[in-house]
């Protein structure tokens, strides 16, 4: 009997996986458990419910499809003007020379490669644990694969209020690089951290970030995924939020043949708040997928999902967002909006908004729209003397503004806006 090609290739791939050798017992156990999870799930295929709009083949293939390194016409990188602690990875490999000293007040940063060699590490309680919790009810096999195989990443523990942001900078330098990064972040009660991420990382990136936000702690996350047109990235955030904690994550995606960002967030403590937002702009060979799962497991929590995509010239946008309100999570305030702006007739937007509610005293709303630039608004701007192309850019930025407003730091929001403006100018017809 001949098995379907896809399953055969997937099964062969799973057979061939070898866990990293050596290391402390804690990491070995976490890796073995993750591998068992992955083998039980199998690799994702097009027929899986949450992979219907995004083909995982290039993410699951044994080798990364090559991706040319893109040279940016204006060679500045995001966040350059911000005072921050820089941690640099080249094609997924830590570069100590380009990075700042990792020591700081109220913050403890180690590399996964170092921690894995140790007999015991605080990350033991989280590494693969939050990822494991996030595997149900929707399996995320490539996150399990990451936990099993990743050799590098940063482990950050914050006990106070950290003055400057921690900035993870990902450089893509080899056309065939295939990077696995696994970060673990723990904010102790009342702690506060801003985490910045930018860069294409590799020809193919699989990244997992596990974030524990303890009671009263605040986590701000801003990342940009840009530059290289041919890169592929599949990222996961698994977050667990304690009582009265705050979680805010914003992602800007430009360029890239394939980007899938999954966020799995559990509001576990009363009065917690989680905001996940994204702005994506794509022209041509661009496929960008936001898959979000927010679980309200405690009463009086608030969550917001705001995703906006601007698509042109055959670009594809996907949004799969769920709010699950568990029994007893009364007074939940859940909001979800996903919108696409089509700049021509060639692009596509797939949206799958879901609500599942088991509590009776909640306020949840969701909406999804797709549309073109409003001709009335365009005429209004032009009638005031603003040239068509400028007026269109203004309306595109206006469309994205609800997502960008989710960035707390004004200087960062302003910088990303000006980057978006530059991108729009470069991509005028």
């Amino acid at each position: 009997m001949v098995r379907p090609q896809e399953n055969a290739a997937g099964a062969d791939r799973l057979e061939s996986l070898r866990l990293p050798e050596g290391g402390g017992e804690w990491i070995g156990a976490a890796r073995r458990t993750a591998l068992a999870r992955l083998q039980a799930q199998g690799l994702p295929g097009r027929r899986d419910e949450y992979w219907r709009f995004t083909d995982p083949a290039s993410l699951t293939a044994a080798e990364a499809p090559p991706a040319a390194v893109f040279v940016d016409p204006d060679d500045t990188r995001p966040f350059d003007s911000i005072e921050r602690l820089r941690i640099v990875f080249r094609d997924g490999v830590f570069d100590p020379a380009a990075s700042d000293d990792l020591a700081g007040d109220g913050i403890e940063i180690s590399l996964l490669s170092d921690a894995a060699a140790a007999d015991i590490h605080w990350a033991k309680d989280l590494y693969g644990v939050l990822e494991g919790r996030g595997q149900s009810p929707v399996p995320r096999p490539l996150a399990a694969l990451n936990t099993a195989l990743a050799r590098e990443g940063v482990l950050i523990r914050v006990s106070g209020r950290v003055g400057r942001p921690v900035s993870l900078i990902y450089l893509h330098e080899r056309e065939t690089s295939d990077a696995l990064l696994h970060h673990v972040i723990r904010l102790e009660p009342g702690a506060e951290l801003t985490l910045l991420e930018n860069g294409p990382a590799a020809a193919r990136l699989n990244k997992v970030m596990e974030v524990e936000v303890a009671d009263g702690a605040r986590f701000h996350h801003v990342r940009t995924q840009g530059r290289d047109h041919e890169r592929r990235a599949h990222t996961h955030i698994f977050a667990r939020l304690g009582t009265e904690s705050r979680f805010k994550s914003f992602t800007l995606t430009v360029n890239g043949v394939l980007t899938r960002n999954e966020a799995v967030i559990e509001l576990a403590g009363e009065g917690a708040s989680a905001h996940v937002a994204g702005a994506a702009v794509g022209d041509g060979r661009f496929h960008q997928d936001d898959t979000v799962f927010v679980t309200h497991a405690a009463p009086n929590c608030e969550s917001r999902q705001v995703f906006k995509k601007v698509l042109r010239n055959g670009a594809v946008g996907v949004f799969q967002g769920k709010i699950l309100v568990k029994e007893g999570a009364q007074k939940t305030d859940g909001y979800q909006i996903s919108q696409s702006l089509m700049l021509d007739d060639d692009s596509q937007f797939f949206a799958k908004p879901e609500l599942e509610i088991y509590a009776d005293d909640v306020a949840c709303s969701h909406g999804s729209t797709t549309g073109a630039i409003d001709p009335e608004a365009l005429f209004y701007l032009r009638a005031r003397g603003i040239a068509r192309a400028d007026a269109e850019d203004l309306l595109v930025l206006a469309f994205l503004s609800e997502a960008i407003e989710e960035i707390e730091a004004e200087e960062i929001a302003a910088e990303l806006l000006s980057r978006l403006e530059a991108w729009l100018r470069r991509h005028r017809r």
């Binding site: 409003d374 001709p375 009335e376 608004a377 005429f379 209004y380 701007l381 032009r382 009638a383 005031r384 003397g385 603003i386 040239a387 068509r388 400028d390 007026a391 203004l394 309306l395 930025l397 206006a398 469309f399 994205l400 503004s401 609800e402």
Partner: protein, 251 residues
């Protein structure tokens, strides 16, 4: 200043003729009013002059100081000095009123080869103009027209007109949806802008706005053409007798 000759216009999408040979000359410093029943083509005339899509000019011409308006993009008409105060100002979420106005002012200055206004000069000027129109700072910060009342929207149109300093101002039913106080405020704003180098074309269904903005010439429009022109007294005639008698008279 504004010269319209035998203007014939139909809808682009369907075979519906709206303007059937409009002739109109507005000289510098003059205020002309166009009155007429609903569906007479008043608003269409203003849209066609401003360059809105969806209309086809089948015959005739429209020039501003000799320049062919109909050949220009809407933004070029604006830079040439034409301004249309919209009957229904458009709400634009996500674009701040102030950003919008500054972009517009500087786009026009650039198109005319002038230097852009500095942020400081712009702020100073807009504050002074806004104060005259009783527009508070909060309204300037809000997104363009979003959550504005009818009166606020119309005052915002006049503010834009004041900031852009056009030479030919077209007001399309600016009085619609306004109460008496709001109308007075708008009229004061318009009157403050009257000058020898600037002309106005005030389109209105009712005579009452013309009590506050005194026109030099009143035109009555019906069925796509101007059927009668006269002095300010013509507006009063409409007010007293309605359009019916005038239409009958011409027919």
């Amino acid at each position: 200043m504004l010269e319209i000759r035998n203007l014939n216009v139909k809808l682009e999408e369907e075979d519906k003729v709206i303007l059937r040979g409009v002739d109109l000359t507005v000289g510098a410093g003059e205020v002309h009013a166009i009155m007429g029943p609903n569906g007479s083509g008043k608003s269409t005339l203003s849209h066609v002059l401003a360059g809105k899509e969806g209309y086809e000019v089948t015959e005739g011409s429209a020039t501003l100081d000799g320049a062919d308006l109909l050949e220009m993009e809407p933004e070029e008409r604006a830079a040439a000095g034409l301004f249309l105060a919209f009957q229904y100002p458009v709400e634009i979420p996500g674009v701040g009123n102030m950003t919008f106005l500054r972009t517009a002012v500087n786009a026009q200055r650039k198109a005319r080869g002038q230097e852009e206004l500095s942020a400081g000069d712009f702020l100073k000027e807009i504050r002074a103009r806004a104060k005259q129109l009783k527009i508070d700072a909060e309204m300037l910060k809000r997104p363009v027209n979003v959550g504005f009342s009818g009166g606020e929207k119309k005052r915002n149109e006049i503010l834009q007109m004041a900031m852009l300093e056009p030479k030919m101002c077209i007001l399309d039913e600016t009085d619609s949806g306004l109460d008496v106080d709001a109308m007075k405020l708008v009229a004061e704003g318009v009157n403050a802008l009257r000058s020898p180098g600037r002309a106005f074309l005030v389109i209105t269904h009712y005579q009452r706005l013309l009590n506050h903005i005194r026109p030099d010439v009143v035109h009555i429009m019906a069925d796509g053409r101007i059927i009668k022109s006269g002095g300010a007294e013509l507006a009063l005639e409409v007010e007293n007798n309605g359009y019916g008698s005038l239409l009958g008279e011409v027919a």
